[in-house]
Symmetry: C2
Subunit: 334 residues, 2 copies
DNA sequence: TTGAAAGCGCTACCAC
DNA sequence: GTGGTAGCGCTTTCAA
């Protein structure tokens, strides 16, 4: 079932069918409707592969995400997807969760596939940038790069966000803090951890960091268990993200420790769950809805059809104070 | 940068390059390595569109999910994805969340694209089945169909699961129950609701159902608010899924009602969160890991390369009792 | 306003 | 073992 069948049935040439298919002007109305009817009757659907082969383009956006199952990235994905679908594009998602080395192959695959745009969350394989810059495709980088040419960088101030959290806890009287880091060493989460250490040291509080093997709830539980087993008794526990923080709260409770009564807990990202967990989480809001919009904007041509221009976009952290840090300090003694 | 460039550089014909690319036997080792080197030096990547155009196949699995953002489906997606990637396939995800009418177009798109297999979660557009049966592609249906030919049906006994929950609550002494239904009318969730009504009526308890507009946490909150505002005061609240149930617990708490102290709550699906929420949720376990494995098994050729055979797979519910239903009834008075 | 024909990059068949 | 070549289904000049 191909375009030629349609052409035959409608008694026209292939070129004319193609014109109708692509909404090109200059086809007599009567011919057009004849073709349309033939398409209908034959239940004809153009073959997208043939199309992209012929044009060297495709209406697909390639996304590489380190962990699409982290609710934070899932939300970003959702935002991007809904925007993209609206504009007639599809998303192809590649998860690099298994292996950092996956990223380059994924990108090359996308390039070979002539995707309309590529977004990387959040990665930094050196050398990949050159490939990307050469490729004549709009690119969005998250938490990396400086923008320019065909590439747009969206950057969030993870250090400042972390600082807000540590300072809040300090102001609440906490002098013994622990940090649960991410299981994998990605630039943005590592920045958070480093800033925690910097801040905690500067303020002169006792501190400690742990890193779980797993991500998410299970990781938070595991790290908290290890921490407690080590004998360190923080009055405040900072999770590298909300997902992990909820797991930590749970494990604290399993061990008979209440939040924020015995231990205050904070997260990061402000995923929807952080408002619905119990206690609700004090966290740092990252405007993920905006991110979705910005990504699509940076990848797709604008209303006038002009290709997007690479630039640098900075996003600011916002402190959200909720139940998990209580109103008063858990321990005021120094 | 095409295969011909490689052929030229290696001083061979296009066919030989193709053979090497596809691992076909009967290429002299020396020629092979010469070609491999040329590929390397040219950084050549085969164009997947050209490939599928020539073969009429592609290593892509098409998934249609009503709501991939429901953590339950997200987990299933993850299970499928990891299996598929391992075997060298990619996933293309289409969400029908906006509109049920989207499903047919999505499927047709997949068909036009010559995907290697299609899975539908969970849908039932009549007439779509005919298209699917005719198409010579392995198909997996979730909670629909009877299996056979090229289509495999995976069915879960939602009614029995619901019954287990209602009977547990009844045994615990509850005589006034409310049910929060799903925002969209999908067959499986509707089955759950209907069975709740059947059971509750049979047991002679007072009951009520509400349906939120939103899904997830916000939906659970919204529905609970409406319910309470209506004046109905259940001692037990059943959420159509865990995601909604967590939102319900939160709203109860906002209104000064504790779980399970004042109101017992149950979910459905046994998503990971249900174990980490507070209180942890009594729920029905659906073996989503198995589902992922089964889907891939039903879509991809087996070890011997034989195409999969359609069949009917039944999955059994398992009751998971946790904190949200307490140990004792909230209200024992009849 | 329309059609013929030349590719797009790859595979697979048929010769050598 | 290897190469020539005819498509796969579509778009896009170029002519008519």
């Amino acid at each position: 079932m191909s375009l030629r069948n349609v052409a035959a049935k409608a008694g026209v040439g292939a070129a004319t069918v193609s014109r109708v298919l692509n909404g090109h002007p200059g086809v007599k109305a009567s011919t057009r409707s004849r073709i349309l009817r033939a398409i209908e009757e034959l239940k004809y659907r153009p073959n997208p592969h043939a199309r992209s082969l012929a044009t060297g383009k495709s209406r697909v956006l390639g996304l590489v995400m380190a962990n699409p199952y982290n609710p934070f990235f899932a939300d970003i994905y959702q935002a991007i997807e809904s925007q993209a679908v609206q504009r007639g594009y599809e998303i192809e998602l590649a998860s690099s969760h298994t292996d950092l080395g996956q990223i380059l192959p994924c990108v090359q695959q996308f390039l070979a596939q002539k995707v309309a745009g590529i977004a990387l969350f959040p990665e930094n394989d050196p050398g990949i940038l050159d490939d990307l810059r050469e490729a004549n495709v709009p690119v969005v980088l998250f938490d990396t790069g400086e923008g320019g040419d065909n590439i747009t960088s969206i950057r969030f101030d993870h250090r400042r966000g972390t600082r807000m959290l540590v300072e809040l806890l300090f102001a609440l009287g906490h002098r013994r803090m622990a940090y649960i880091a991410a299981p994998r060493l990605l630039t943005p989460t590592e920045e958070r951890r480093l800033e925690f250490i910097t801040c905690a040291s500067r303020l002169g509080v006792e501190w400690r960091t742990v890193a779980p093997v797993a991500d998410g709830f299970a990781g938070g539980r595991e790290a908290t268990r290890d921490l407690l087993r080590s004998g360190f008794r923080p009055t405040a526990l900072l999770g590298v993200n909300d997902w992990i923080a909820v797991g930590a709260v749970r494990e604290l409770r399993n061990q008979g420790l209440s939040t924020p009564g015995d231990v205050s807990v904070t997260g990061f990202d402000n995923i929807t769950l952080s408002e619905f967990s119990c206690p609700s989480l004090t966290t740092i809001h990252i405007p993920r809805g905006d991110i979705g919009r910005l990504v699509v904007e940076a990848l797709l041509p604008d209303a006038s059809g002009a290709p997007p221009k690479g630039r640098l976009i900075s996003l600011d952290p916002e402190l959200i104070v909720r139940e998990s840090t209580g109103a008063a300090p858990a321990v005021t003694a120094r």
